[in-house]
Structures are given as structure tokens and as C-alpha cells.
Amino acid sequence: MSMTQELLKARTSLENNLRELLGIPVFLIEMDAFALPCGCGGVTINTRGLQLDDLEIFEEHILKHLTDTVTSLEIEPSFLFARLIPGTAEVASINARMLCSSCYMDFGRGSGKQPRPDIYIMRFDRRE
């Protein structure tokens, strides 16, 4: 299966899972694979209809679906987070990112689920 087909399949499957779980019309409007010059890589999934409350209440279940999705794309699920629209509770995107050593420090030095008010961390595996 090509990478594009994998992404198409993963987007649909995750969207269905979230709709079923939350019982609301969540839309995953775009799923992108990315590679950054610093060395980070992963996927970002732009969302509409998802709120911070949904993440907090159903975090365990959302995390499972998201982990399954990114694992199916051969992405390490060691850093999963949501991006909020600044100043609101709207979730702009959910993301899986394989952190480079430099960006790891941005998150690794901090503690808590919101290192910045627009970022909500669902999973962050600390390195030894």
C-alpha cells in the first residue's frame, strides 16, 4: 500500500472511531505526514468539532485510537499532543511527533500537560 493510501485509510478509521466514541460529528479534515529540518517527523491531523473537554474526559480512549493509528503508520507513539486554537477550547489538530533531540528538550524540561496554553499533551515518553 502506498503512503498516501495508508494515510487515507488511517484518517477515515480514526475519524470513525472518534465519532463513535464521542457521539458527536468530529471531522478530521486533513491528515498530513511531515518532516522538519530539525529532524522531527510525524503526522498532524487537523480537526473540527473536537473540544479540550472531549480530550480530557475521553483521554484514555482517544489515546488508544490515536496510538493504534500512528502505530499503523509506523510512527512511534512516544509523543502525542493536541494543538488548541489559542485562547479557546477548540482543538485545532492532534499530532504524533517523533522528536529530535533539540525539540525534545523544549518539552522534556517542563512538566504538566500544558507546556504552553495552546498545547495539550496526551502522551510524552521521557528518555533516560
Binding site: L36, C38, G87, D106, F107, Q114, P117
Partner: protein, 344 residues
């Protein structure tokens, strides 16, 4: 030395910031965008009770709290009775909370704040105070402090003239790194002010000015050298102007902010200058500029008349000190920039 340090706006961030550094004199953060908004991107919209909690915490650590409400354009709303009442109500609440200072850009609001409240009135960089005359006007309107337009950070004659003209305090923004004499400056901040203000907010997909700014620097990297940032090592050259310096960057992670705090507090940074610069952080994986190789450049800038096509100093310096990254992650390589200026 008094360092004013950016804060992203939530309690956890403040706690982390203040627990990790003793070199912070004051923190500043955006207030609620429902009343005035700011001329920069906001990552949070703290409510009054959150501002109160954070202010109390900062004060318990001996750190002052500044709220930034520096929209450069409010579409005239501030002059309407409804607009005035809303702003007046908000200022009153902030005053009651015990906020130490408010940074604003609009002259009308400078005057309003100075007349009716106990909080110090800080004139924002977005008031573009770049001459002694403008500084004098703002002082007469009631400014307690003026943050001088960084466009004149390397015009020592103007800085000294401003210092000699006014008796209010001066603050210098050290790492903003906007383009020198940027053609987008007013339009960009006006756009931000509406996007981060009370509304109606523009439904804009992309920030033309920001992308254009990055693109110009990639095409012509000498623009990075010409940006009027102040290196940590060069703070001593400004101490006859002021002892108060502001670090820009309230949209960055605490880790990034702390790196800047330590660099400016120690007046030394061994690393990539790009690590310290605020507005062009997206280019930190594109260019490497060993900060130590900029030692002494300030001597040229102190006497520079800013006629670049005749001087060429920054162009030559860019060619000498800037490296371009190639590859990514562990396989990254640094390639000397070489000749610049002829790229189309």
C-alpha cells in the same frame, strides 16, 4: 540590571519560569483579548481570576507583573462610549488585582491609564518611539516607561538623545529581530491587533507578512545581521542609556525563554545566535550564526550611518559568519554562506 521576561500566560508556565531562574525582575503576558488585545500572537486568554492568581504568585517570588495590551489598531472602538467603558472596567479590575504595569500602544489609552490608575504606564514598541520628539510627547501623555522602537537599537545618537530628552524610564527590546526598516511593520502589527483583539476577527488563513519576512531573509541572509537585535555581550554598551531590558518571545516554550534569560543575565551566549532571536525562530534550523564571531561588530554599528549600499559591512559580516544548514537531524551539516546579495 532589570530583565523583563515573556510569559506564555498560564500558571504552570509561570511556576516553571520563576522556579528555574533568579534573574527575572518582571514577567509580562497578554491580558484578555476581549477588551484591547495585543499586537502579537496570543497563545492564551487569561481570565481575571487567573491573572490575579498569577500576579499573587509572581509577587510572592518578588517578581513584578506586567500586562501587555498593545494593539496598534482597534478600529476606533476605544473612542466610542461603549469601548471606553469596557476598557475602563478592565483597567479597574487589573488595578484592583495589583498589576504593576500595563503596556499599551495607543496614545489615547496611554493618557487614559495615566490619568485614572495607579499602575505604571509603559509605552509599547508598537508606538514606534524612535526620536526624542516622540518620546517627549508620550512622556507628556503620562508614560512612566517607554520601550524604544528597536529600529533605533543601533542608532546610539538617537538613543542618547531620547535618554537626554525625557526623565521617564527607558526599556530596550533586545531580541525582537524584525527586519531593519521593515516595510511590513505597521501592516503586520495592525493585522495581529485585529486577529488578537476584541473582534470582529479577520478570517485569515495565512500571515502574508510573516512568510514574506522569512522568505526575504532566506533569499538575502544579510538581513538577519541588519536586524537590530542586541547581543547579550553588548548589553554593556547600552548601560548609559538604561539598565532595563526586555526579552521578546511570549509564544515560545519556557525552555527557550529560560535560555534567553540566562544568556542576557550572564551577558554571554556560546551558541547559535538564531537560538535567541524571537520573530524568526522558524529559521533556526536554516542558519547557524556562531554568536562569538560577532564580537566587536557593535563598534561598527555604533558609528554606522546606515547607508548600506555604500558601507557593506553587514553584507561582508554575513558572508563571513553565517552558515546554512544542510540535511536534517543527526546528519546535519553546516555550509558557509559565501557571497550574498546577488540572489534573485
Amino acid at each position: 540590571m532589570k530583565l523583563y521576561v515573556p510569559h506564555v500566560g498560564h500558571f504552570e508556565g509561570l511556576e516553571e519560569l520563576l522556579n528555574c531562574s533568579d534573574n527575572i525582575y518582571a514577567v509580562y503576558m497578554a491580558g484578555s483579548p476581549d477588551y484591547i488585545g495585543t499586537g502579537r500572537t496570543n497563545l492564551s486568554a487569561p481570565k481575571l481570576d487567573e491573572i490575579a492568581e498569577q500576579t499573587e504568585y509572581a509577587h510572592s517570588k518578588g517578581v513584578k507583573m506586567e500586562i501587555v495590551l498593545n494593539s496598534s489598531c482597534m478600529g476606533g472602538q476605544q473612542l466610542t462610549p461603549e469601548g471606553y467603558r469596557a476598557i475602563d472596567w478592565y483597567f479597574d479590575k487589573l488595578n484592583t488585582i495589583g498589576i504593576d504595569s500595563i503596556t499599551v500602544a495607543d496614545p489615547y489609552i496611554v493618557e487614559m491609564l495615566a490619568k485614572d490608575y495607579d499602575m505604571d504606564v509603559v509605552v509599547s514598541v508598537l508606538s514606534f518611539v524612535d526620536t526624542p520628539q516622540k518620546a517627549e510627547f508620550y512622556e507628556q501623555l503620562g508614560a512612566t516607561t517607554i520601550v524604544v522602537d528597536p529600529a533605533v537599537n543601533r542608532h546610539f545618537d538617537k538613543l542618547e538623545a531620547i535618554r537626554d530628552t525625557v526623565s521617564c524610564k527607558l526599556k530596550l527590546l533586545v531580541n525582537e529581530a524584525c527586519l531593519y526598516q521593515c516595510p511590513f511593520r505597521y501592516a503586520h502589527f495592525n493585522f495581529f491587533s485585529h486577529a488578537n483583539g476584541p473582534g470582529p476577527k479577520p478570517n485569515v488563513l495565512d500571515d502574508y507578512y510573516y512568510y514574506k519576512c522569512l522568505s526575504l531573509r532566506i533569499k538575502d541572509p544579510q538581513q538577519i545581521i541588519k536586524s537590530p537585535w542586541i547581543r547579550p555581550e553588548d548589553l554593556k554598551e547600552y548601560k548609559h542609556i538604561t539598565d532595563t531590558f526586555k526579552i521578546g518571545g511570549r509564544t515560545h516554550f519556557v525552555n527557550w525563554i529560560l535560555n534567553n534569560v540566562e544568556a542576557y543575565a550572564n551577558e554571554r551566549y556560546d551558541g547559535n545566535l538564531m537560538d535567541l532571536l524571537d520573530s524568526i525562530k522558524d529559521l533556526k534550523d536554516t542558519f547557524y550564526i556562531p554568536n562569538s564571531e560577532l564580537d566587536g561588530a557593535i563598534e561598527q554599528w555604533k558609528k554606522c550611518d546606515k547607508v548600506c549600499h555604500k558601507c557593506g559591512y553587514c553584507k561582508r559580516l554575513a558572508e563571513k559568519v553565517i552558515y546554512r544548514y544542510s540535511g536534517s537531524g543527526d546528519e546535519i551539516r553546516k555550509i558557509p554562506l559565501g557571497p550574498v546579495g546577488d540572489r534573485k
